[in-house]
């Protein structure tokens, strides 16, 4: 198994607040890894550090062996490392199809490629993915008029359209109805199996994380607290103490 993402001793502070301190973790190719921890423990900050939203204070981040801690957000995205946001972000004033089409991979292309029309292959793939997340019939609607849950699904489809190698998901199920959560998880698993996309997932919902993650990291107070399989983590006294609480 090759390591896809490797985070080494990453630290990040905001003024007096130490959001991440000396965090090391890795994700292997094809894995689904969970990231949990109390509110404010630095999970989102770690995502931001990985995909380049802010410079990190120290440490290194490697994606497929390449150092990315100095790169800019779009550059990293073009390498195939993509993230979703805690608050859903879609392009509200564009139709779903347009949302999808603009999400095609932005690899290398000259200025004139930007001015071209959409290749047929893109249109087909777009239809496939809309079908995949169950939004086919709504594909010509304005994305902004979709309901909360549908927007989450659209965002997920957009991420897939981008053909990422790895996806960082930030609380993909927060605020989603429990039954729909199941559907979303089903698609996450299929994306992992069928498209071979490596996943790193932040979640507070244990029902979710325990059911999809093979390995889980737990952060607390900006530090790595524990690492292990679902059962290990669930029964780790430190995790119970800092995060899960008594059952």
């Amino acid at each position: 198994m090759t390591t896809m993402l490797n985070v080494e001793s990453v630290s990040k502070r905001f003024g007096g607040i130490i959001a991440n301190s000396d965090i090391s973790m890795h994700v292997n190719q094809g894995e689904i890894v969970g990231l949990i921890g109390p509110n404010g423990s630095g999970k989102t900050t770690l995502y931001n550090s990985i995909v380049g939203y802010h410079p990190i204070d120290s440490g290194s981040v490697q994606f497929e062996g390449q150092e990315i801690s100095k790169m800019l957000v779009p550059q990293i995205a073009r390498l195939g490392l993509l993230r979703t946001f805690q608050q859903t972000r879609i392009y509200g004033a564009m139709t779903c199809v347009e949302n999808m089409l603009i999400s095609v991979p932005h690899k290398e292309e000259g200025i004139f490629a930007l001015l071209q029309r959409h290749p047929k292959a893109d249109l087909e793939r777009c239809d496939e993915l809309m079908e995949f997340v169950g939004l086919y019939s709504k594909r010509h609607l304005m994305a902004g008029s979709l309901s909360f849950g549908q927007q989450k699904l659209l965002e997920f489809a957009m991420a897939l359209m981008n053909e990422p190698k790895m996806l960082l998901l930030d609380e993909p199920t927060a605020g989603i109805n429990p039954t729909l959560i199941n559907g979303l998880l089903d698609r996450l698993l299929r994306a992992n199996q069928e498209f071979g996309i490596t996943l790193l997932v932040i979640e507070h919902n244990m029902r979710v994380i325990m059911n999809i993650a093979k390995r889980i990291y737990c952060l607390a107070h900006g530090q790595l607290l524990a690492e292990g399989g679902p059962n290990e983590i669930q029964n780790d006294p430190r995790v119970i103490d800092a995060y899960l609480g008594a059952h």
């Binding site: 380049g52 939203y53 802010h54 410079p55 800019l72 957000v73």
Partner: protein
């Protein structure tokens, strides 16, 4: 640069320029307070700002014409403008709260054209001024002059600044304004009548502008189409100072006044404005660049 030579050989003129800059900066500060307030609390960029100033001037001028002692014009203009601001809020501005900032920019631009023309119809387009009979003090053997009316403006600026700060910290309305500025929906669920808060904020803004205008007509001149100059300067000041920072507004207004005086002296009056606006752009780009290094944006 001959003009720089003057400043080096006769340093006393630096004092005059600094003083003039600070004194005129005081007028700008008054115009800018309200803009910062309205921008911060209601998220509206108020282009009619300058017209409020000019209108305040015309109110003071009209009173002077009918024999009211000039200094009474200051509170009178403030009161008149407060009422106008309150009414304008009830008529138009309330529709702009919670809307795209751009909408407020354009709508208040429309209002500013409207107000300019109405002033033109009502007061005529003449250049007007009010002679307060206040003299100037001359210091350093007459080399440096301090017009008393400008000094009054300066003192008033500081007094109003302090009053605003105390009002915001201590009074109930001030508290409500602060809360609304930070989170309007939360303020509403706590029983704050945000509509009233907005109306009052806008009224206060207009009132301070009115007072500024009265001082302008007593220390400089006004005419109906001059408002934009004050609006743009308010912009610059607020952008440099940041929202909700009254001390910052005062400081950057003084800074702007001084910068203008020096630009006028050294580069010549023709480049005074160009200099100010370029300065604004440069400051914006600088701030954006500094934030950009942390991958943040000026929003």
């Amino acid at each position: 640069m001959d003009n720089i030579d003057i400043l080096i050989q006769a340093p006393i003129f630096n004092v005059q320029l600094l003083l003039d800059g600070v004194l005129i900066g005081a007028l700008f500060a008054l115009a800018a307070y309200g803009m910062a307030l309205v921008w911060g609390v209601m998220n509206i960029i108020n282009i009619v700002q300058g017209e409020f100033v000019i209108l305040g001037g015309f109110v003071a001028w009209s009173l002077f014409q009918v024999g009211v002692p000039p200094l009474f014009g200051i509170p009178a203009a403030a009161i008149a403008l407060f009422i106008l601001g309150y009414l304008l809020y009830k008529l138009v501005i309330f529709r702009l709260v919670d809307r795209d900032l751009f909408i407020s920019l354009l709508a208040t631009f429309g209002m500013s054209i409207l107000l300019q023309q109405l002033m033109n119809e009502v007061f005529g387009a003449d250049v007007q001024t009010v002679d307060t009979q206040l003299q100037s003090w001359f210091i350093f053997e007459g080399m440096v002059s301090v017009p008393q009316i400008k000094l009054l403006a300066f003192v008033l600026t500081l007094v109003i600044a302090v009053c605003l700060v105390v009002f915001m910290r201590k009074s109930r309305m001030g508290q409500a304004i602060r809360a609304t500025a930070q989170n309007a929906r939360a303020a509403r669920i706590l029983g704050i009548d945000t509509d009233k808060v907005y109306a009052t904020t806008y009224g206060i803004n207009a009132a301070v502008c009115g007072a500024a205008g009265a001082l302008v007509v007593m220390s400089l001149t006004i005419h109906p189409f001059q408002g934009l100059a004050y609006t743009i300067r308010s912009f610059t000041i607020v952008v440099v100072a940041g929202l909700g920072n009254i001390a910052g507004v005062v400081a950057s207004a003084f800074g702007l006044g001084v910068a203008e005086q020096y630009a006028g002296f050294v580069l010549g009056a023709e480049y005074q404005l160009a200099f100010v606006y370029l300065l604004l752009v440069v400051i914006l780009m600088y701030r954006s660049f500094m934030l950009g290094r942390q991958r943040k944006y000026l929003k």
